[in-house]
């Protein structure tokens, strides 16, 4: 088995830059979303299609990112 249809794309969610990484293993698509900086994983999801896996992960990541506060420095 190999990772197929591997993609790694920049996006913006809730005002934050993120990276959406998706690949297929067998019949399952795996999607992981990380913040662009520092690169920590925020959410992951699986699905029968690329779109399904990414949509589920995006929903989770958007919810978490919406809770991040920006403070005055």
């Amino acid at each position: 088995m190999k990772a197929e249809e591997y993609s790694r794309e920049p996006h913006e969610l809730a005002g934050w830059p993120v990276v959406v990484e998706t690949y297929r293993l067998g019949a399952v698509y795996h999607c992981t979303i990380s913040n662009a900086d520092p690169g920590a994983r925020i959410a992951r999801a699986d699905g029968a299609t690329k779109e399904e896996a990414e949509q589920k992960a995006i929903e989770k990541a958007t919810r978490y990112l919406g809770q991040t506060r920006k403070l005055a420095t």
């Binding site: 934050w16 900086d37 959410a43 991040t68």
Partner: protein, 279 residues
Amino acid sequence: MATSTAQNVLVSTDWVTQHATDDGVRVVEVDVDTTAYNQGHVPGAAGWNWTSELCDTLVRDIAPIKQLEELLGNSGIDNKTTIVLYGDNNNWFAAWAFWQLKIYGHDDVRIMDGGRKKWLAEGRDLSTEAPAFPAKKYVASGPDLSLRAFLPDVQKAVAAKGAMVDVRSPAEFSGEILSPPGLPETCQRGGHIPGARSIPWGKNCNDDGTFKSVEELQALYSAQGISGDRPVIAYCRIGERSSLTWFVMKYLLGFGDVKNYDGSWTEWGNLVGAAVEKP
């Protein structure tokens, strides 16, 4: 990387493809995302969970020596095994495991350059089978605490204006955010330890997840006054990103006295009365 230092601690994805199941070699995946191993891993690789196997689950601490000996023995590793670590997020927790293995005296530990990201992107073979290994006896030494900074070490370094590297993102360093975007806030104050220089961990790596060349790394660190001519302490939020920077400074750049402060910002940023600097 073309230095003798790097050749002793880094292996390529090609090398792993050819040697992953050799006698005397054990490949181990350690991920931030503890479910990643089960999705598919290097065939023959063991999987370690950083949240339960590479820490003390009662006291905040690294793995106790007996726990580590058991983990290694059950992974079919003895004191002579070549351990090759890799993982997601450009090897964050692979470096965390590397650091602990060095604290406990394992001689031959290496990191797969590029980690899980490069392995996936190259479309290499994956397995979902968790291999069983014949148990071996492992006897750890140490701990070698010259590799680890505790709070008093950091307080002394602040007082002496010693070298410290904050490897978090610029927004964490400045105090604009209290945690990486999307993750829970785990400190009471934002900013950085007084005197620390900002060298975000990601600057150590190329887009494909591999480490930059020694020349590029030397330029990166020397531009911030970090050249290995004096002791240096690396820190981040919980100590895993800084273990990657510790690996870079200690093993790729060959600095003599490098410590990882795993208490990091979750300790310093919650201390009552601790000095905090903001740009």
